[in-house]
């Protein structure tokens, strides 16, 4: 299957600052791909390279198997983009901006436009300056979502939206997924990514540190276990795969590497389990681990 986005070893520096340092990213047709990373990790830089706004120093970026810099104009007919920080023209109304951007892209679905305006509860008659941050965001969202394009590139699109609108956004993206649209969603809102994305790439300091489905990512990481035991816990210290061990009387809390889970559980069983709580890492834990710890290669 043709990759919609294929990036290998992308480098980009701004003066002394290294924004991208060998970043990889692959997005397949029809998937909703979560693009996660802390502030300044290089998400927006990557997107700007994909949009042909800036040029990479090294590495290869392909959009629909074409060069995003040289073929920018033709590629742009096939995508719509929502930036994280939307600024509008002071003397144009929201409705005018939606129509303008739609027409510049090559067409807007009038039915969808009307439907989205209602769903996002957006008044299109106000002038640019009169919109709040959330409403400016909605203008850009309606303009993008009502366009007849194959790929949506969304850079923190729900920043500034209230929870109701966020829910509406998720519903719309899920409908788009059924229509076969590809979505690259850069976001900080983990619940949103967890709810929407088929696959996820986590970037840190300009490099991709994890990529895969949520289940795959979970497998790569640790499960939290809390157990009440009959015997005083012994032999857990130094057991392969056990981290952050905390022992209070007969109770243990620890994190266990997912691939060592079986061994650790049988060890606990030998000690006699009275109660056991175990939960897979939430995306947040996964995320925090990558943010805080030094990245272990592999």
């Amino acid at each position: 299957m043709e990759s919609v986005i294929s990036i290998v070893g992308l480098d980009k520096s701004f003066g002394q600052t290294r924004a991208l340092d060998g970043l990889d990213l692959h997005v397949e047709r029809g998937e909703v791909h979560g693009f996660l990373g802390p502030n300044g990790a290089g998400k927006t830089t990557t997107i700007r390279i994909l949009l042909g706004l800036i040029r990479a120093d090294r590495g290869e970026a392909r959009l629909f198997s074409r060069d995003p810099w040289n073929d920018a104009t033709e590629l742009h007919r096939r995508l719509a983009y929502v930036p994280g920080d939307v600024t509008l023209w002071a003397n144009l109304t929201g409705g005018e901006v939606i129509d303008l951007l739609g027409r510049l892209r090559g067409g807007l679905d009038p039915v969808k436009r009307k439907d989205l305006l209602e769903r996002f509860d957006l008044d299109p008659t106000k002038k640019g300056r009169a919109y709040s941050k959330g409403n400016r965001q909605k203008v850009a969202l309606v303009a993008a979502l009502a366009s007849d394009v194959e790929l949506l590139i969304l850079d923190e699109p729900t920043a500034g939206l209230d929870p109701l609108m966020e829910a509406e956004f998720r519903a719309v993206i899920n409908e788009d997924r059924h229509d076969g649209r590809t979505v690259l969603l850069a976001s900080h809102i983990l619940a949103e990514v967890e709810a929407l994305c088929d696959r996820i790439s986590i970037v840190r300091e300009g490099r991709t540190v994890e990529s895969g489905t949520l289940a795959q990512l979970r497998h790569l990481t640790r499960t939290t276990i809390a157990a009440d035991l009959e015997a005083t816990p012994a032999g857990l210290v130094g057991l392969p795969g056990v981290h952050d061990l905390k022992v209070t009387d007969h109770r243990v809390e620890m994190e266990v590497d997912s691939d060592r889970l079986g061994e650790v559980l049988s060890h606990l069983a030998d000690l006699g389990i009275r109660g056991l709580v175990s939960h897979p890492p939430t995306l947040e834990e996964l995320f925090m681990r990558h943010y805080r710890d030094e990245v272990v290669p592999g």
Partner: protein, 532 residues
């Protein structure tokens, strides 16, 4: 809460942000009168030469209209006549731009909100902006007064000259402070204040130029007219300064009154709602550029058409008797004309209009940078709009806008002049020609802005420096007897004066070529560079 809390730290903050810009303004506006006075000392060394100049000017309503009346034949009085109102106009522009930048622009960008949430009183931002601007005006006034005294001019006149500049800063800071309360957008507020400044200039031109027809009272309505009425170096009338102080006081009070009543971020004039969907025209880069530029094109066009009409109406009555005097011809050549006083006048007047048209060209070209920095270029450029198409839509206004503006000014100037002299058709055509021939030089400045935008986008502000340099070279280069090569730096130097028996096309072709090369270089670089 104390409405002025935090003013002190805001004054320091604004002064810090303005330190380079205001220093440059003050430097230029100090050199302007002092350099002129020094040059006059050499050019008109004898009493006879000075008296002749003063008499010639006084008998020529058009020149009086353009630069103001001559009140004496001393070096000081001639300096005040030659650069006084131009200087006061520039002082006013400095005040307007500085005040708006630190009041309405701060609000529009939302920075005011951040400041306002700290211990800063409601009136503190306006007070701080006015304080810094008026302070700059006072420093400028002191430097000018000191410099003129250092040139050996009488103390009283030097102080009056400096005070006149400071008074202009005071009045127009007050006007800008009021304008900043009216609209939500900084651009519109700037437009209101600059219209007031232009109106003051035109009232003075109409009043001084129409003295013979009993219109001189018009100049008394203009804060710029007050500068000449102060009569520096010609029996100073100090009480005229009270007019400036009084008007400034009223303007500031009105500004404070409105500021106390309105919400932060809001203007007194309510924003209107607009259509919920775009008209058919708004569907291309050109359609967008038209929406973004049409208001300013209309405003500048109307403004300069009015300027042209005023110039045209004061151009009449230039005595042929003076034209016969070869010595006078030499003097007027220095004022910007080669043959005939009317032509000299229109050359000088249209030269000023051309610089304003060039300002439009620079502004329109730099709109690309404004859009890029605000993040509004991005949404357009990630649609199927190629970069050159987007840039071209803005440059169309940088290239054709000045043509429209110069044509408007030329037609109104020629038609009003023709209506008075009874030859509407002929005069309109000849003055229109004299206006349109300036276009190649205007394009060069638009080219400078475009080249900077493409090649050195962080330094686009240098285009304004180039424009000011051209203005000063054109206005003062000859008086200061600058070397030829320096005068040749300004594209306006190379524009042939019309009407001329045989028009020299070579310099025009060169200018168009240079402009085209710079536009092309800027576009080529823009196509290849990263977007900010």
């Amino acid at each position: 809460m104390n409405g002025l809390a935090g003013t002190g730290s805001l004054v320091g903050f604004i002064a810090r942000r303005e330190r380079v810009r205001l220093a440059v303004w003050i430097l230029i506006l100090t050199v302007l009168p002092i350099g002129t006075a020094r040059a006059f000392l050499g050019l008109y060394a004898t009493d006879q030469a000075r008296e002749q100049l003063a008499r010639t000017v006084a008998s020529n309503p058009a020149m009086v209209g353009l630069l103001g009346p001559v009140y004496g034949s001393t070096i000081g009085a001639l300096t005040a006549w030659r650069v006084g109102t131009l200087g006061a106009l520039l002082v006013g522009l400095m005040a307007v731009l500085t005040v708006i930048r630190h009041t309405r622009e701060e609000e529009e960008t939302g920075r005011r909100e951040l400041i306002g949430s700290t211990v800063v009183g409601r009136q503190a931002p306006l007070t701080a902006a006015l304080t810094v601007t008026v302070g700059a005006g006072l420093i400028l006034g002191l430097l000018v007064a000191g410099g003129l005294m250092g040139t050996g001019l009488p103390v009283g006149g030097a102080v009056a000259f400096g005070a006149g500049f400071a008074a202009a800063a005071l009045v127009f800071a007050g006007l800008a402070g009021l304008a900043a309360q009216l609209t939500e957008g900084a651009g519109a507020a700037r437009g209101v204040a600059i219209t007031g400044l232009g109106g003051a200039f035109l009232l003075r031109v109409a009043g001084d130029g129409g003295e013979a027809s009993g219109l001189s009272w018009l100049a008394w309505l203009s804060p710029l007219g007050w500068f000449t009425r102060l009569r520096a170096f010609a029996g100073e009338r100090w009480w005229v300064l009270l007019l400036s102080a009084g008007l400034a006081g009223l303007l500031v009070l009105a500004g404070y009154g409105l500021a106390a009543r309105r919400d932060v971020g809001a203007g007194v004039l309510e924003p209107r709602i607009g259509p919920g969907s775009a008209s058919r025209g708004l569907g291309s880069p050109t359609g967008l550029a038209w929406r973004l530029h049409r208001g300013s094109l209309l405003g500048w066009g109307i403004g300069l058409a009015v300027v042209g009409a005023v110039f045209g109406s004061v151009a009449d009555g230039i005595g042929e008797l003076i034209a016969d005097n070869p010595q006078m011809a030499v003097i007027f050549e220095r004022l910007g004309g080669e043959r005939g006083l009317t032509d000299a006048f229109f050359s000088a007047a249209l030269g000023i209009v051309a610089v304003v048209a060039a300002a439009f060209a620079v502004r329109a070209a730099l709109r690309m940078r404004v859009e890029e920095e605000a993040g509004r270029a991005e949404p357009v450029l990630v649609t199927a709009t190629p970069r050159l198409r987007w840039a071209g839509s803005h440059l169309a206004f940088a290239i054709l806008g000045p043509v429209v503006i110069l044509a408007a000014a030329g037609v109104t100037a020629g038609a009003t002049f023709g209506a008075i002299t009874g030859d509407v058709g002929g005069r309109t055509l000849s003055v229109l020609g004299a206006a349109l021939i300036q276009i190649p030089a205007v394009w060069v400045l638009g080219g400078v802005a475009t080249a900077l935008f493409g090649l050195f986008p962080r330094f686009t502000a240098l285009s304004w420096a180039a424009l000011v340099a051209c203005l000063l070279l054109g206005q003062l280069g000859e008086i200061l007897q600058l070397p030829r090569w320096a005068l040749n730096l300004s594209p306006f130097t190379h524009i042939p004066r019309l009407p001329a028996p045989d028009l020299e096309l070579t310099p025009l072709i060169w200018l168009v070529g240079i402009a085209a090369a710079m536009f092309a270089a800027g576009l080529a670089a823009f196509r290849r560079r990263d977007l900010d």
